[in-house]
Symmetry: C2
Subunit: 356 residues, 2 copies
């Protein structure tokens, strides 16, 4: 812990920009006093606001950028308008240049993905990156990837996602041999899922020392917490994530309605209010705010765009954890190891999958 | 309503077979006294049990079948073992032969899909079938399809699903011009989603009189109820459905825990118990039990395998509603109309999509 870690913040990113990112950084800094900050954004906005946070100011360097990526910029627009110049780009580039250990942005996901890929490039052994998130379940939390960085995946890529997800799970949960499952549907004989079956076979045959591959899991296994790492390609992962968010909101809405309908229910609600508070804290998306781009030459954390300072602080601390863990190096070493091993290279299936 | 409708029941299907299906049929019959039944299953089990339900017995014909498809039979096994002979097959075949207006089974989904497709074949204008379900949302319910009948879909098939889903939504909700959305992820510029974009363009250009195509929706729009019909291919739809089920279970688990932690919360819970009961009823999967296979030459209803008599009765009544509505004929007419129209046939994109 002696070594100091520096985080590069896209201070302008997110629905409310500096109004969330600066207070968020101040919270994270209070809890993690060793953390150093580089703040990328408009200095005419940042500097006056920073006066309110003297402790943060003392450890922060402000880097002026005159472009801020908008939440509705398309990735191609963002790259055109903001490459080299925007706060989002410069925060990512700070990681590339070794000026920071990781970058955090609450800016728009598509732009962040495009810039992170363009600036940092995928790590040697990785074909395409994944966005991995911590997903709360009945017991604790699991790592779910890909949440939308890469659409479609062949067997090799799903295998790589499994390895990357397991590295992240080890960093965040401390479990030495995380249980890993491939997301699939119950009806296994339907055509079109060859890549998932092949990835399963690869994981079984590779018989990895630090991955407990348990086989296929279904959508309801995510919430049940049947495994520590759930692997899927990005389209399905993103739909699953958003569907779960929608369901949580829906049930919270039902619950509110139910508690308002009668006087008796309202009384019960008042009595049980602290319990409802605990429930709210439990399903609070801020608690596990932040996805990690895996497979790039550097760590980029995606915070939810509509988060608050507490949520943004959680994203900063997520980055701190994986940076301290040396996540990027571990992923590269593990994947290089597997890709270099005979088990993978000699297998005809992988060659086929790779050609997809 | 004068015309009597006959339902063919796979009496052996489901986790508990006749122990659920017969009482379920009795409930449905009590509520829908005009409904006639053909019960497919082992007569040595069915006949004695039927004595307990004299009203149902008076309107039911028992058809003996000596094979029952097991819940863990793979679709190919089920076809091998059970074609022509099993209760599942014969219930479906009764629809084909005009002996029943629709079939209901709580048997295993893969086997039911395989048999329904094999026995009934897809309707003239439809390429592949979809499984459509009613999904509760914050306001009411929406139709979501495909929940797993067909993996992968080109633009033409997604278009067809939109038309079929809208026909079902009109039958079940009475809305003359249901709002239809294509399930997509927010990051639109990522490669690999051409078929969804093309389907969107087709729906916009077709400008259908009885479909209000609203564009892309995301996973959280399902629970929010942003549209009346959510269209996606079967893999994603199945993952979304199961993920939502898992999330609902997870939050119910959190809520239970929260209400047990302190005496005060327990007291509040006791007071609010009727409200919790209403919440439970609201998220009860039995309330909207039953998926409809769309696009076949006949109606087959899939009930959840782990349902209870009330849930099985709901599936029977779902079939009654769509059979009365003349769903199959309407789908065939609408799709034939669209497929026959210049707008679809002359479009290069569709030809391309069709070749996928």
């Amino acid at each position: 812990m002696a070594e100091s870690i520096t985080t590069a913040l896209d201070a302008m990113g997110g629905d409310e920009g500096v109004a969330i990112t600066l207070p968020g950084a101040a919270i994270a800094h209070r809890r993690q006093p060793d953390l150093r900050f580089r703040l990328y954004g408009d200095e005419t906005i940042l500097n006056p606001l920073l006066e309110q946070y003297p402790a943060l100011k003392a450890t922060a360097v402000v880097e002026h950028c005159d472009v801020a990526i908008r939440m509705d910029d398309k990735p191609s627009q963002a790259l055109r308008r903001g490459r080299y110049r925007s706060s989002m780009w410069q925060a990512i580039e700070a990681v590339k240049l070794g000026k920071a250990d990781y970058a955090v942005s609450a800016g728009n996901t598509g732009a962040l993905m495009a810039m992170a890929k363009f600036c940092l490039r995928t790590a040697g052994a990785v074909d395409r990156p994944a966005l991995a998130g911590l997903w709360p379940n009945l017991h604790d939390e699991s790592v779910v990837l890909d949440l939308g960085a890469t659409i479609g995946a062949n067997a090799q890529l799903l295998f790589d996602f499994a390895v990357m997800g397991a590295v992240m799970a080890r960093a965040l949960t401390g479990k030495p041999r995380p249980r890993v499952g491939l997301l699939n549907i119950g009806v296994e004989e339907v055509k079109g899922l060859e890549e998932i079956r092949d990835a399963g076979q690869m994981l079984r045959e590779a018989n990895l020392a630090n991955i407990d591959y348990v086989g296929f899991v279904e959508g309801d296994d995510i919430g049940k917490g049947s495994v520590d790492v759930v692997v899927t390609e990005g389209f399905t992962g993103n739909i699953a994530l958003k569907t779960a968010e929608g369901t949580a909101m829906q049930i919270a809405g039902y619950l509110r309605d139910a508690m308002r309908q009668t006087l008796r229910a309202r009384l019960g609600y008042v009595l049980a209010r602290p319990a409802f508070g605990r429930l709210r804290a439990k399903i609070d998306p801020r608690r596990v705010n932040g996805g990690v781009f895996l497979g790039l030459n550097g760590i980029v954390i995606k915070s939810h765009g509509r988060t608050d300072p507490e949520g943004f602080a959680a994203a900063i601390e997520l980055g701190l954890t994986v940076a301290r863990d040396g996540l990027v190096g571990k992923i590269d070493r593990e994947l290089s190891h597997y890709h270099g091993s005979g088990a993978l290279v000699d297998d005809g299936k992988i060659a086929k999958a790779g050609a997809m």
